[in-house]
Amino acid sequence: MDAHILPRKVYYRIWLALLLLLLLTWGLAQINLGPFNIVVMLTIAVAKMLLVILFFMHVKYNPRLTWIFVAAGFIWLLIMIELTLSDYLTRG
C-alpha cells in the first residue's frame, strides 16, 4: 500500500547530513562572524528541519493536501512573529 518505500540508505544519508550540519553549526559557533553567527545558525537549523520533514517524515512523498497542512502551521507562526516584531521593533 505504500507507493514509496525508500531505500534504507536514504535514511542513513539524511542522518549523516544531519550530523555534519550539527558539526558545522557547532564549529561556526566558535568563530566570530558578528551578526552573521545567528543568521548562519538559523539557516542551518532550517536546513536540518527540512531534511527531517521531507525525508524522515515522508512529506516529500505525501499528497499535496499534507503539504498544505504542514505549511499552515508554519505560516501562522511566521504571521505571529512578523506582526509582533512589526510592533516591538518600531517603538520609539
Binding site: 559557533a29 553567527n37 545567528i38 504542514v70
Partner: protein
Amino acid sequence: MGDAHTALQEQFDDLEQQKEASTLGMWTFLATEVLFFGGLFMSYITYRSFYPREFSAAGQHTIILYGTLNTAILLTSSLTAALSVHAAQENRTNWLFRYLIMTVFLGCCFLGVKAVEYHDDIQEQLIPGPHFRAGLPAQGQIFWFLYWAMTGLHALHVLAGVGLLSVIALLAARRKFSDRYHHPVEISALYWHFVDIVWIFLYPLFYLIDRYH
C-alpha cells in the same frame, strides 16, 4: 495478527484512506504544537531584541557539551524512528520492534543527559529568582526563565514520546502491525520527529549564540 478487517475502522473506505486521514490528523495536531512552542519562541525573540547584551552574558553559562551531545542523540533517535517505519513497510516486524526500542532508549538517554545538565545548572544557581547567580545582569533571568520553560516543556514532550513509542513497541511485540497496517507507528514517528525539530531550534538559541569568546 494485524489483519485488514480488524485494523480498518468503519468510517473509512479502505486502509489507504484511513492512513491519509490519520496523517492529516497528526499534522493538524503538530500545527497546534508549532504554535504552542511558537509563543515561547516569540517571547525569546522579543526579549533577546530588548536585552541583547544581558542575554549574551547569561547565555555563556549553558553547557555546550550537553546540548551538542543531546542534539546528536535526538537526531540519531529520529533515524531509528524512521527506520522503524521502514521496517514496518517491509513487514520486518522483528526489526520494527528493535528500532522502536532503540528510539525509546535514545529518548531516555536524552532525558538522562538533561537531568545531569539540570543538576549542574541548579548547582550554578541559574534559577531565576532571589538566589539567581551573582554577577549576571538582572535581565539575564529572563534568558534563564525561557531556558527552563522551553527545555522543560520540550523534555515533557520527549517523555510523552518515550511513553507513546513504548506502547507502540509493546503492540509491535504482539504483532499488531504489518506492511498493510502500521499507521500508529507512522504517526507516532511523526510526533517523535516533531520533538526532534523543536530541539534543532532550541540548540542554537540556548547553546551557540555569542559563544566564540
